[in-house]
């Protein structure tokens, strides 16, 4: 990175902190025994279709976002956290409460555990809570797949060993927000605070314990034009696959409150990605990446002005095609769509490279 970009990274970090403002102090107190959210979906589990439960534990939130780094430029998960430390007992009851949603569901089950930060961060989830939750999972035979989320710095040999010991032969993945394979994009535009090397280390370390990795890939970080974003996403997916991740989860940016991305959006300088960009990125990456790496995408706020969207007429059909593709992995599911807005998107790809003014910006 040239000096100016390094300085700009620091500067963007400060701007990101500023956008967060006092929002952290205004976080709600939650019932510490209730998970922040839990939902059940149909999902692809290995070669089968089964049930997936996603559990968002209510914690004090991402250490990286609470600290002086200000967190990532597009993320306000922190706001979903509570204002006080949550005890191990409470975290375990949150998990148990959530699991009642699948009390009667039959195998195979997939469990995804999210927090508003990192499940493996001891400051966020006390080790005792982690042990107990892992043992609860170990005791449930229906669960064949487990996904835990964490920033790379918390993925240590001892934690990996602990997971391996508890979950044995289960299909385990650690989800990491790689976002972009480009260090400048990740460090400067996203303020992610870790490098591709850090990510790479975790992938191979985890592989040594028979644990897979799930790379979260961001579509359209701020300061990228639509075309920059398209190329960056494809490049990130192929790089992640080359590094040996087991799953790629694609996340088009949605405008979250009190973030730098939101303030750019407010001033007309950012538009969430077009669905066409998402479709093209998935389509191209799927053809370039070996089929043992699964590519999934469940866009947040899709079709809404704060989420990835097209013109409004074609959004619904395209979003359901993306979901269908995530189950089938068949690029044909992404083909054959057309709409009046397709040419507008093509125009934006070319024109924004020169004008830098986002097209079709709505508020």
């Amino acid at each position: 990175m040239i000096d100016e970009l390094t300085e700009l990274s620091t500067h963007i970090q400060q701007m990101s902190l500023k956008s967060r403002g006092s929002s952290i102090a205004q976080r709600r107190r939650r019932d510490p025994r209730q998970p922040a959210a839990a939902w059940v979906t149909t999902a692809r589990i290995g070669y089968d279709t089964g049930t997936a439960i996603s559990i968002v534990l209510s914690t004090i939130g991402c250490s990286y976002a609470r600290g002086p780094h200000g967190g990532c430029t597009m993320c306000s998960y922190l706001l979903d956290g509570t204002s006080t430390q949550v005890s191990a007992d409470d975290l375990v009851s949150q998990f148990e409460t959530a699991m009642t949603k699948v009390a009667t569901t039959s195998s195979p089950l997939s469990v995804k555990i999210y927090t508003s930060g990192s499940f493996l961060d001891p400051a966020e989830v006390p080790p005792e809570a982690r042990h107990r939750i892992l043992s609860l999972i170990a005791a449930d035979d229906r669960i064949v797949q487990v996904i835990l989320e964490s920033r790379p710095e918390y993925v240590t040999e001892s934690v990996l060993a602990e997971i391996q010991k508890a979950l044995g032969t289960r299909d385990v993945e650690i989800g990491i927000g790689l976002e972009s394979a480009n260090d400048t994009v990740r460090l400067m535009c996203i303020n992610k605070g870790f490098t591709l090397k850090d990510f790479e280390r975790v992938v191979s370390l985890a592989r040594g314990y028979g644990i897979g990795t799930r790379a979260y890939v961001l579509i359209k970080p701020p300061f990228l034009t639509e075309r920059d974003a398209l190329f960056d996403a494809i490049d990130t997916m192929t790089t992640a696959a080359r590094l040996g991740v087991t799953t790629i989860s694609v996340n088009p940016v949605d405008i979250q409150r009190h973030t730098l991305v939101e303030s750019l959006w407010n001033s007309g300088q950012y538009r969430p990605p077009w669905l066409w960009t998402v479709v093209q990125a998935l389509h191209q990456a799927r053809q370039e990446i070996p089929s043992n790496v699964v590519i999934v995408c469940d866009p947040v706020a899709a079709g809404k002005k704060r989420g990835t969207h097209n013109c409004g007429k074609c959004d619904k059909a395209i979003v359901s095609a993306i979901r269908k593709f995530s189950l089938s992995q068949d690029v044909k599911d992404l083909e054959g769509f057309t709409c009046d807005c397709l040419m507008k998107w093509e125009h934006s790809l070319v024109h924004e490279d020169l004008s830098k003014v986002p097209h079709d910006h709505q508020q």
Partner: protein, 637 residues
């Protein structure tokens, strides 16, 4: 060497140029668009992403993140330095870092600076930008690209302010969301290349653009009439987007051509003012631009002109030629000595005022009532939006040229402008002169509004009705007769010729010039409505020409004026050859010089070697290395 060659003619910062680099030559103003727009003389492509075009191209380097190394081909007009999307949404520090990154890369790359355009975020601060310009200039960069988001809000205004900081010999590109009606405005503000991509954006949204608005076309049966080729040949089977794109481009081409034509005829400002009625945001944009970058627009606005200057609405009140006139009157005009009365008169539609029927009647009334004592009266004409006009300056541009809609009603701003002008004008007269206000209606409102700021006593001669009614003129006559007694006015010789020439000299060259060129005891002869010659002890110094109300100097007059230290151009040599001085030979010039000004030319040894008329502003003569700087009238042989 990448070089911007300027052609003759001015109307604000707009210009006609040729951008030359090796064998490539691009005339400006020019529209630019993507390669999907047919028949453009200039297109843009992004390096490594779009296919390079055979057409002359602006090559955009992708994001700063990507580090694409630039390559120049035969068709590359410019390479646009990389920036970051959305950086305009952060603060000026982020913009500064982005620009500094660009200059660092330009320095590092193996391609000469002359090929590049810096990509300027509209959030850049003016002082940072001045530093960046200096660095870029050292690297050989002579072009800049600005973003306009088309909202005509603060960001677009800042882009214009930034543009105004560029040296004159830089090629300037406006990109973004630009509607056809905005094209003449941007051209007026000195943008040479204008992004017409909105023609495509709109066509894809089925929007047909017109001069001042747009319409959504769903079917050709219900669409409004258009005689352009594209619409004429449109069929319900053909792709509607393609027809609309061609139509929309017609609109861009026709507005640009209209602007170019208007500039050639000194009517670009008028066109811009007319188009400001497109939308309230366009109107406020022009007014704010007039405030924010007044000095920039004024600097390139000629001080002479031949056609009519229509001043139609509030957008004219602070037009550069108008506000400059008001400012110069305050700064440069000194009333002649010995005036006992200031007579305020209404303006007339016919110019110069003294040729009008109403003014002939006023003058007749004055002369019939007090005869030769007229020379003790300062005649001052009230008008909008120019304020107050001393009789001596009635033939000068734009006083002899302006045309306003006359309804008799003045709006609050017009009254304020004229009242302010009257108050400052009266401060220049001794406290014991008497003001006779021979005005009614809006003009009288102006005097009333100014009254508290005026130290002298004021006599109103009109109760109601027109200033030219029999009753009003009788009242004026009897007031003047009374005043003749009270103020002990006496006869004497008319001083109108000297006073006119002195006031004109002061107005053209600054205070004090009048006494240098028309000293006491000069002989002045001729007719104000034709030509007046001024000789000092037999040597002709200047002549006054009725057609533009200005003095033109002889070489001797030029020598006299050189003592004044203004309106000089210094050239790099001893003896001047030929009928023109070109900018390449100009070493230095008075920054006060505007296009159309009478100037003196000094040689290396500071001797006056010629006099003539400037074709550029002083700063331009220094910035450019080509183009005609002065058309020489007389030169030392």
């Amino acid at each position: 060497m990448g070089k911007l060659m300027i052609q003759r003619g001015h109307d604000g910062p707009a210009r006609q140029c040729t951008w030359k680099r090796d064998s490539l030559s691009l005339s400006t103003p020019q529209l630019v668009g993507p390669t999907t727009i047919p028949d453009l003389a200039l297109v843009y492509v992004t390096a490594t992403r779009d296919e390079l075009s055979k057409t002359t191209s602006i090559v955009v380097l992708p994001s700063l993140i990507e580090n694409v190394v630039p390559v120049v081909t035969d068709t590359t007009a410019l390479i646009v330095a990389p920036t970051l999307a959305g950086i305009d949404g952060l603060d000026s520090e982020a913009a500064r870092l982005t620009l500094t990154a660009q200059t660092r890369l330009i320095r590092q790359w193996d391609v000469a600076g002359e090929h590049f355009a810096i990509h300027v975020p509209s959030s850049t601060s003016l002082s940072d930008f001045r530093d960046i310009i200096r660095t870029s200039q050292e690297l050989g960069v002579r072009a800049a690209v600005f973003h306009l988001d088309g909202s005509l809000g603060p960001r677009d205004l800042q882009a214009v302010s930034l543009r105004s900081q560029l040296p004159r010999n830089w090629l300037t590109v406006a990109t973004g969301k630009i509607q056809p009606a905005f094209v003449p405005v941007l051209y007026y503000l000195g943008f040479d290349i204008i992004d017409a991509s909105y023609a495509e954006t709109a066509a894809l949204a089925h929007r047909r653009l017109w001069r001042m608005e747009s319409e959504v076309v769903t079917s050709w049966d219900t669409a409004r009439y258009c005689g352009c080729h594209a619409c004429h040949d449109a069929t319900s089977e053909g792709p509607i987007e393609q027809t609309l794109l061609l139509h929309n481009m017609e609109m861009f081409h026709s507005l640009l051509s209209e602007a170019v034509h208007a500039r050639a005829h000194g009517r670009l400002r008028w066109l811009v003012e007319s188009l400001s009625h497109t939308s309230p945001s366009m109107a406020s944009f022009l007014r704010l631009v007039d405030k924010r970058v007044f000095d920039f627009i004024e600097e390139f606005t000629p001080t002479v002109g031949s056609g009519t200057v229509p001043l139609i609405g509030p957008e004219s009140y602070d037009a550069p030629a108008i506000k400059r006139w008001r400012d110069r009157l305050v700064a440069r005009y000194t009333p002649p000595e010995g005036k006992k009365i200031v007579l305020l008169l209404p303006c007339s539609a016919r110019k110069p005022y003294s040729d009008s029927r109403s003014h002939r009647r006023f003058i007749e009334t004055i002369e019939n009532s007090i005869g030769p004592a007229r020379h003790e009266i300062a005649e001052v004409i009230l008008t909008s939006p120019l304020g107050v006009i001393p009789r001596e300056l009635e033939r000068i541009y734009p006083i002899a040229n302006y045309d306003i809609p006359v309804t008799g009603d003045w709006d609050a701003e017009e009254i304020r402008i004229a009242a302010d002008a009257l108050v400052s004008h009266m401060k220049k007269f001794p406290p014991d002169v008497v003001v006779i206000a021979h005005v009614s209606g809006g003009y009288a409102q102006v005097v009333q509004a100014a009254q508290d700021g005026i130290a002298q006593s004021i006599i109103y001669t009109i109760r109601e009705g027109s200033a030219t009614s029999r009753e009003a003129l009788d009242s004026l006559a009897s007031t003047l007769r009374d005043m003749k007694e009270v103020l002990a006015l006496h006869g004497g010789r008319s001083t109108l010729l000297e006073e006119t020439l002195r006031a004109t000299a002061d107005f053209q060259f600054g205070p004090g010039a009048g006494m240098l060129l028309v000293p006491e005891g000069t002989s002045v002869s001729g007719k104000l409505y034709r030509r007046v010659i001024c000789r000092d002890h037999g040597t002709q110094l200047a002549s006054y020409l009725a057609e533009n109300g200005l003095l033109s100097l002889t070489l001797d007059g030029g020598c006299r004026l050189s003592e004044h230290g203004s309106y000089w151009v210094r050239f790099d040599g001893e003896v001047l050859q030929g009928g023109s001085l070109f900018a390449v030979a100009v070493k230095d010039a008075d920054e006060k010089i505007r296009p159309g000004d009478e100037v003196i030319i000094l040689n290396k040894s500071n001797e006056v070697v010629a006099v003539g008329r400037s074709e550029m502003s002083g700063r331009e003569m220094c910035d450019f290395t080509n183009g005609r700087a002065v058309s020489v009238r007389h030169r030392r042989k």
